[in-house]
Amino acid sequence: MEYGLRPLGREKFWFWVMLIPTLIGLTFGALGSILATLGLSLTNWDLLRPPTWAGISNYLALFNNPAYFKALTNTFKFSAMYVPGVVIISLFVAVLMNRKIHGVSIFRTIYFLPAVTSAVATALVWNMIYGRDTGILNYLLNLLGQPSICWLCTKNALMSVVVVNIWGAIGEGMIIFLAGLTAIPREYYEAATIDGAGQFDQFFSITLPLVTPSIFFQTLISSINAFQAYDYIYMMTRQGQGDSSVPVVVFSIYRNAWNFFKYGGASAQAIELAVLVILLMGFYFWLERRYVVYE
């Protein structure tokens, strides 16, 4: 596939001149810092004294660190609920929003609003909804004669936080799926209607297979978001002394580096998280080759 014109002669020179600022930024900003982290993960560094060589001891220490293990478990539990939640619900919403109803753009805007609202502000609102004695959710439960639930206590906090994160991500997912849905030719549905297929059959036989590229993309993006989730979690579960009732890996990295003087250990955690994400992405691409339909 070749699109557009190729640069020729003097244009080539300017082509590179124009690219250089971006390339420098990428090299130092992204690649440089990744390499720096890789290097730091092999040292003991407290930021204040020169780093000393640690070999792989930082990585070995991760196996014997209950706090890190807890954070890793939380990250995986979070992802396992968040990713399917976002994909399924935003696909469902997109299908609903993909019809010619009056005022559909208003609904689309409403669903997209959380994506453009400050996470800190919405987290505060959610804290009010979840409040044990003063929250709206428990007030409604009490009206129905049910006992109050402590939504943000250690036991339920993970689930409550997943709900908020999904709520915040539906808008963006919906946009991706809407784009995918509009690309499906109308003729398929017309032909299916003539053949007597119902709405249900049409969804599973036409929509779902043809929207798999979007599902793949959305799963990928959601997984990356899940592994870096931090803002809502921090705002809703933080406790005294910088702790959280749902500590996730990003949280653990930050705390080890900036609170505990362990930049080497924190770098090792970052690298390990990156490796796990890369493995997961590899698995997704393997799935893509088998199941994703490109027209």
């Binding site: 004294r49 402590c150 990156a274």
Partner: protein, 427 residues
């Protein structure tokens, strides 16, 4: 990944700025005055306090200019570490005593001993307990600026309304419990308690937990900082006592309950008593009710409270250590300490000022003497390398218990094991 990459970028920036030379350091020039930077944590109100002190200092030392830089607690430490790593530390910066050794042992602080030796008698008037924290075998790498003893603040209006007598200086923990219970109420009549008898910080030892452990005759940690003692029988008795107040009497709110009030329950008028330090006085002065302070109660092993001091340190790479020390010396002088006391932020470390009207007769009508008297039975908040990680491990570990989701004894067993491992790693 975005956040991770952000952190990585931060590290890269640090590395680059470390090589980039020192641009923010101030230089003495022949014609202009020497510029130094004083950095500390605090709220905007504190900035005006320090501006006033700096104005006094600059009037007395026309050849030195001081830039005051105030950040909130969390950003302060991040900013400080970044500046230290880039070899461009502020000349003078604030230090919390428990964290002092984490910095001192890493060699980023200037040894002030030579300066102290050339100013004989300069430490004579200071409260000795506040100095201990900054003493090392190699000398002082920092000096206390002010001190904080923990006392009980109580809402007089709430006591009057309930017809409960005010706490007395010789009260006991049993008195505290009975008083707290008598003041725990459901004022709105919706079946839920909305006025609590007593408030503590259930994750930080300083306001509320360490005092009762000491009053029961146990310590938090052993003398050489190798063993956590909060699982010893007497400490368990103390924890059980607070646990009963929280879950039997409901006179102490659990963390989930307090978080719904979004801040300080005492200030919002939802609590009758709170264990707290002098730092709360300025904000409590704006409360709509009358309040006063009383010493921490006594337990089976007598009366006990916690003392901690914020201090000054000088960056080892400071360009103007002489001017930096002159500033510290001024703040510790009678003039500086008097100004600090008048502004109402903390207890002066200079005994003569702490016992003078400047401190005792401030705008508020409370009994300031209590903060000074509490020094007589105060234990020092622990100071050792790795304190932050150790106390975080304990604070984190206690959370499920205070949330009512874990039993007291197994929780303490688990915390002691984890906290001791942290101590071993930080040796």
């Amino acid at each position: 990944m975005k956040k991770t990459i952000f952190s990585l970028a931060m590290v890269a920036i640090l590395l680059l700025s470390a090589c980039g030379g020192k641009t923010t350091g101030s230089n003495a020039t022949n014609n202009g005055p020497v510029q130094i930077t004083y950095m500390e944590w605090g709220d905007p109100a504190e900035l005006s306090v320090w501006k006033a002190i700096v104005a006094d200092f600059e009037a007395a030392n026309p050849n030195i200019k001081v830039n005051v830089d105030v950040s909130d607690w969390d950003s302060y430490w991040t900013k400080l570490k970044t500046l230290l790593a880039a070899n461009t530390p502020p000349d003078v910066f604030a230090m919390d005593a428990p964290l002092y050794l984490d910095y001192q042992s890493r060699g980023v602080l200037l040894n002030l001993q030579l300066y102290i030796d050339s100013n004989p008698g300069m430490l004579d008037g200071l409260f000795p307990n506040t100095l201990t924290a900054y003493q090392t075998p190699a000398g002082y790498f920092g000096l206390p600026r002010d001190f904080q003893t923990i006392v009980v603040f109580y809402n007089k209006d709430m006591f009057d309304k309930a017809g409960v007598p005010y706490p007395k200086s010789n009260w006991t923990y049993d008195d505290l419990r009975a008083t707290a219970l008598a003041l725990t109420k459901d004022t709105s009549g919706d079946g839920k308690i909305d006025q609590f008898g007593y408030v503590i910080d259930p994750w930080d030892f300083e306001p509320g937990m360490s005092e009762i452990i000491w009053a029961n005759g146990e310590d938090l940690i052993n003398a050489d900082h190798t063993k956590t003692l909060i699982g010893e029988p007497n400490a368990r008795t103390a924890f059980q006592f607070l646990h009963d107040m929280m879950f039997v009497d409901h006179s102490i709110p659990d963390p989930n309950t307090s978080s719904q009030y979004g801040g300080d329950l005492f200030l919002s008028g939802n609590a009758a008593m709170i264990a707290m330090g002098h730092w709360a006085v300025p904000s409590y002065s704006e409360a709509s009710f009358k309040w006063d302070v009383v010493q921490m109660p006594s337990g089976p092993a007598g009366q006990a409270t916690s003392v901690n001091s914020a201090g000054f340190v000088v960056g080892k790479d400071s360009k103007n250590p002489d001017a930096a020390f002159a500033f510290i010396k001024f703040v510790l002088s009678t003039a500086g300490q008097t100004r600090l006391a008048e502004m109402g932020f903390a207890c002066p470390v200079l005994r003569s000022v702490a016992e003078s009207d400047a401190f005792l007769k401030q705008g508020t009508s409370i009994n300031q003497q209590i903060f000074i008297d509490s020094l007589a039975f105060a234990h020092m908040k622990p100071v050792f390398k790795g304190y932050d990680e150790w106390s975080s491990t304990i604070g984190d570990g206690l959370t499920p218990m205070w949330n009512g989701e874990a039993e007291l004894n197994p929780t303490l067993d688990q915390i002691v094991t984890q906290a001791d491992a942290v101590l071993a790693n930080n040796k």
